[in-house]
């Protein structure tokens, strides 16, 4: 009876994941092996039954197409590159913020944490759109700089890769700050004192004690920023230029502009496989940490 209770509690999230993650994934996986056709739905069936003959049509052509057309490979590479450097930037910005919050006294700490999370209360889309207003040629920054005479001509910021980096770092910063903060706030102050006692200057103490001990928080933060950044669509679409190639944008175009569901599905599946690498790495690391 008790076992049944425990099982049913665990069953709820499992059923949820099964219904809303595994089933859609399998549908997308299925579509990626079909062929595009002008119908509703716009793809062929994998299995057909006619004249007492069971036909299975597995179209591997879509995947071959992804490899042959260099657009997709370039888009994947560029997405990973942008996500990687954006994650590094987010780490460089987020770590000091997390550190400062963790070192602040309890009263200010909560206020600072609130400030980190507060922007998330506004719609993601509106916040990214606001950056358009800030970055565009006659936007806040350019008008301001020209107004005080530092520059004569507007600096092109919108529709550049710089804007995409800025957008990703801005949007995903809380996901970097919070895990690192959670980690740093647990750091025992006597360890820092012990390090100082044994001859380490504050900087050396940071390098030899604080940083290694916050490794788990850094990895978690980086994963939380990197993984959604790779597939990011809104930021490159709104802030990036025509030459900013990201897989999220390609996916959107295949799906809504070309109406090629099989290719769009295959793009999504490959992206997922690509992201499995860092995720497995992360899990391995976590398991090892738990063991020791």
């Amino acid at each position: 009876m008790k076992k049944l209770g425990v099982r049913s509690v665990i069953a709820v999230p499992y059923i949820w994941l099964l219904m809303f993650f595994l089933v859609p994934f399998l549908i997308v996986f299925k579509i990626s092996f079909s062929e595009m056709q002008y119908s509703i739905p716009p793809y062929t069936d994998l299995v057909s039954w006619a004249d007492e003959v069971l036909t299975i049509n597995l179209n591997l052509g879509t995947y071959a197409y992804l490899i042959n057309d260099d657009l997709y490979i370039r888009a994947y590479m560029s997405s990973v590159r942008i996500a990687f450097f954006a994650t590094v930037c987010a780490l460089l910005v987020g770590y000091p913020i997390a550190y400062a919050i963790a070192r602040a006294d309890t009263a200010t700490r909560n206020a600072l944490l609130m400030l980190v999370m507060l922007p998330s209360w506004t719609s993601f889309l509106i916040r990214i759109y606001a950056w358009v207003g800030i970055l565009k040629n006659n936007g806040l920054i350019n008008n301001g700089l020209m107004g005080i005479g530092i520059i004569d001509e507007p600096i092109a910021m919108l529709n550049t890769e710089f804007a995409v980096y800025l957008g990703i770092v801005y949007a995903y910063l809380p996901f970097m700050v919070l895990p690192i903060y959670t980690n740093l706030v647990k750091l025992d102050n006597s360890l820092l004192e012990a390090s100082a006692d044994l001859g380490c200057s504050p900087f050396k103490t940071f390098m030899r004690v604080t940083l290694p001990l916050s490794k788990a928080g850094i990895i978690a933060g980086c994963m939380l920023v990197f993984i959604p950044s790779v597939g990011e669509f809104v930021i490159p679409e709104m802030l990036g230029g025509a030459e900013t190639l990201m897989i999220g944008k390609v996916l959107w175009q295949e799906f809504f502009n070309n109406r090629d569901w099989p290719v769009a599905s295959a793009v999504a599946i490959v992206m997922l496989l690509l992201l499995l690498v860092p995720i497995t790495f992360f899990h391995r690391y976590q398991a090892r940490e738990l063991e020791s």
Binding site: S195, L213, S292
Partner: protein, 366 residues
Amino acid sequence: MTDTASSPMLEIRHVTKRFGQLSAVKDVNLAINKGEIFALLGGSGCGKTTLLRIMAGFETPTEGAVLIDGQDVSNVPPYKRQVNMMFQSYALFPHLTVEQNVAFGLKQDKLPKVEIEAQVHNMLGLVHMNEFAKRKPNQLSGGQRQRVALARSLAKKPKVLLLDEPMGALDKKLRSQMQLEVVDIIESVGVTCVMVTHDQEEAMTMADRVSVMHDGEIMQIGTPSEIYEFPNSRHTAEFIGSVNIFDAAVQHVSPQLSQLSCADLACTLNVEGGINAIEGALVGVAVRPEKIIMSRQQPQQINNWAKGSVQDIAYLGGHSVYHVELDSGKVVMATTTNTDRHEQRLTWKDEVYLHWPASSAVVLCQ
């Protein structure tokens, strides 16, 4: 008492530490000799930990100076002081192995690798932890962690070793064993050591000299027996061990034998030696429970005795503590050793006489 031939290894001169309105340490002066084990003893909030942290450099004194080996280090940060501390929580680095923990400070000195390895091996040998060199701190027991912490704080050959509540995290049995072992290790290295503790037994077991602190001030400094046998204040007498204090008025002072009167006693109180108080002054007379003799017969002496009835008995195996209520209502503690198994011991409500020699009592002026 102090060695005047050599200058002290650690000197605290008129050190005061204020946190806002609160003074944690008030005008403390200390001179700790080379090779000495010195204990700062006091209850919680007495300022002993703040004083230790001032020695380590984690706090800077508001006033006064700290001198190590004759040099003023008041404004020297902890990482530049030749002082190492063993923390109460041990503060071992969880991400490093035992040997890496011990090597931590040595690496900072840019020593050659071979030398570091040799020193780590030495230190771990000293605390019998060589076989655990590759373990992480969370794979060690409390006692083992303490050994590693001690090895780590000794590895850099500090001029002064600081111990913050060294036995605080250990259980009682391990504690008494480690107390002696830590002292052996410290003495074999010959390092000057300052320890902080709230446990008087620990201070008396481990330290050569003890200073009793109360409310940010040092009440008394002396060897364990000096502090126990000749407390200079009510606070010290009550803090160290148990004591009976009779409120008394000075009647007659003489260098051989002074006389006092006490409302709780029918006779005069005699105390050996002179008293630093004028006649008529109100003082306390302290008598330790083990110095009081109990008997069923009225004692021969005419002074220093009392009559009462047994109110409570605490049988502690090796000895028993009797609480005897005097006619005035004052309760006096007396201890007897249980040497004879078949002895007819005093029991509740028994009428007893208490008496003690004049040499056992101490007059407390403050």
